[in-house]
């Protein structure tokens, strides 16, 4: 067991490097076909999509523009939970462009809904979503998930961008980790 695996207390491999690589290639091919002849901007969500965005965009054989968006919870005097705000906005003008938002994982879809709401204000032609992992049983929001790598359940995962307390993103595969309280 590697240092990283020991730190994360990985329980089992959920998706291996090879499986991920093959699925990303399929997704890239599909996106290449769907957006042929269109102006596509691919936007990765910081930080979880880092590795997936990197591999996926290289599997898309189109002149895509790539950008990233980040958000954070900031304290708010009027609420206990604080409010979510964009901390790194996109730099590319997406007005009238086709936008593909790339996520590492979508569970309830609340964060994705927040990002879509913000991007919609920039008047793109359309927005679709590509997530490496999707939990359809937990999905609450009606969001346009057009592409996804794998379906997951409620298990706690790390690797390939997914972290626990900032650790585990650089694990080259997706592993199950114990549920943390």
């Amino acid at each position: 067991m590697s240092n990283l695996e020991e730190t994360l207390k990985t329980e089992r491999v959920v998706y291996s490097e090879e499986t991920i690589k093959a699925r990303v290639a399929e997704l890239g091919k599909q996106i290449t076909e769907d957006y042929a002849g269109k102006e596509l901007v691919v936007i990765g969500v910081i930080k979880g999509s880092l590795y997936f965005l990197s591999d996926l965009t290289r599997a898309i054989d189109l002149p895509v523009k790539v950008d990233m968006i980040g958000f954070s919870n900031i304290p708010d005097t009027t609420s206990k939970t604080g409010i979510v705000r964009i901390t790194k906005d996109i730099d590319i003008d997406i007005t009238d462009k086709h936008v593909l938002v790339v996520e590492d994982v979508i569970r309830t879809g609340l964060t994705t809904a927040y990002i879509i709401q913000n991007l919609e204000m920039k008047k793109p032609a359309d927005i679709t979503l590509c997530s490496m992992l999707l939990n359809p049983d937990r999905l609450l929001m009606t969001i346009p998930v057009k592409y996804f790598g794998f379906e997951i359940n409620d298990q706690w995962l790390a690797g390939y961008g997914l972290d626990h307390d900032e650790i585990g993103r650089n694990l080259p595969y997706i592993a199950q980790i114990p549920k943390r309280k």
């Binding site: 954070s72 919870n73 609420s79 569970r107 309830t108 609340l110 809904a113 609450l140 929001m141 972290d163």
Partner: protein, 323 residues
């Protein structure tokens, strides 16, 4: 889409508010000037002067027609509003609140200010003394009131015809515009929901104040606020079972409606036997009201969501439940 009528006292900055609002919404202001230039075809300068000067003249018929200028004014504005579909429209003056009082989507705004503010605004605008401004105001107020009374037989100053009255003594033009925009946006959501109630036979509760039934609902509302996701609490009831006489025997009022996502969410913290009944109701809603997006947030889902938020929340950039 917003249909906004603005009635204003002279010198209250109502015209400036209408212009700024039109600019923000990307639309034009339908004013008396616009009406005179566009509604009556070609009119000679003499007629134009009389329409500008005299409310009574609106009661005269157009040359070669049995219809009065007032008839055409009313018809043209109503046609514009009906044809506006998804466009925003601002009607400035001309008794718009009276004219469109039965139009369900219209918002009626009145802009007022104290006499001192109005006198100062008029004096500054026309570079005249406050005594002269007082005379201008006196004439203008009288004419304005007379126009609405003559054309529609109503009193434009009665407050009950307005949804919002703004006093520019202490509010800036920008503040007024922001308030109107926010109200128009929410009102539009409410009107669309009400219209769907009429179409689908569901019941409207949107005028009730939000009173959560339990802490879970309150917590969930806080989570939605955190993500800046707009919600309405229990906006409507869906009847799902009726007896032989048509009386409703079973209904469900989903806890939250998220207008942006056209989605109803029903939270449940109950034990399994009640959840089964809720599941049945959900299934019936989907069968009886096709196209309605409705989902249950189970106790387990909610606890999981809160756990993940607690774990990943805080001040770092990992504040997401999606991991």
């Amino acid at each position: 889409m917003a249909i906004i009528t603005i009635s204003r006292q002279n010198g209250s900055l109502g015209d400036e508010i209408a212009d700024a609002l039109a600019s923000k919404l990307g639309t034009v202001v339908i004013s008396r000037k616009y009406a005179l230039e566009n509604f009556f075809g070609e009119i000679n300068p003499g007629t134009l002067d009389r329409l500008n000067e005299s409310a009574k003249f609106f009661e005269t018929t157009l040359p070669g027609s049995k219809r009065t200028y007032a008839d055409i004014l009313v018809e043209k504005i109503r046609t514009l509003v009906s044809a506006s579909k998804d466009r925003d429209l601002i009607i400035l003056g001309m008794g718009g609140s009276v004219l469109l009082d039965s139009f369900p989507g219209a918002l009626h705004i009145r802009v007022t200010a104290s006499e001192t503010t109005r006198l100062n605004t008029i004096a500054r605008k026309y570079r005249i003394t406050t005594d002269e401004a007082a005379e201008v105001l006196n004439i203008a107020d009288r004419k304005h009131k007379k126009f609405v009374r003559t054309v529609y037989g109503k009193d434009i100053t009665s407050p009950e015809q307005f949804d919002l009255i703004l006093n520019t003594d202490r509010l800036s033009v920008d503040e007024c515009v922001d308030a109107i925009c926010e109200l128009a946006r929410k009102h539009d959501i409410r009107v669309k929901l009400s219209e769907s109630n009429i179409d689908k036979g569901t019941f409207d509760h949107q005028t009730r104040a939000t009173k959560f039934k339990n802490e879970t609902e309150e917590e969930f509302a806080r989570i939605l606020n955190m993500y800046n996701i707009e919600w309405l609490y229990e906006p409507k009831t869906f009847p799902v079972e009726w007896d032989a006489e048509g009386n409703v025997t079973m209904a469900i009022s989903p806890d939250f409606f998220l207008p942006k996502f056209n989605l109803y969410l029903e939270l449940t913290t109950m034990d399994q036997r009640y959840v089964t009944k809720k599941n049945k109701k959900m299934r019936l809603v989907q069968e009886l009201y096709p196209g309605t997006n409705i989902r249950i947030v189970y106790k387990k889902d909610f606890n999981e969501l809160v756990d993940r938020l607690k774990l990943f929340g805080g001040l770092n950039d990992n504040t997401r439940e999606d991991n």
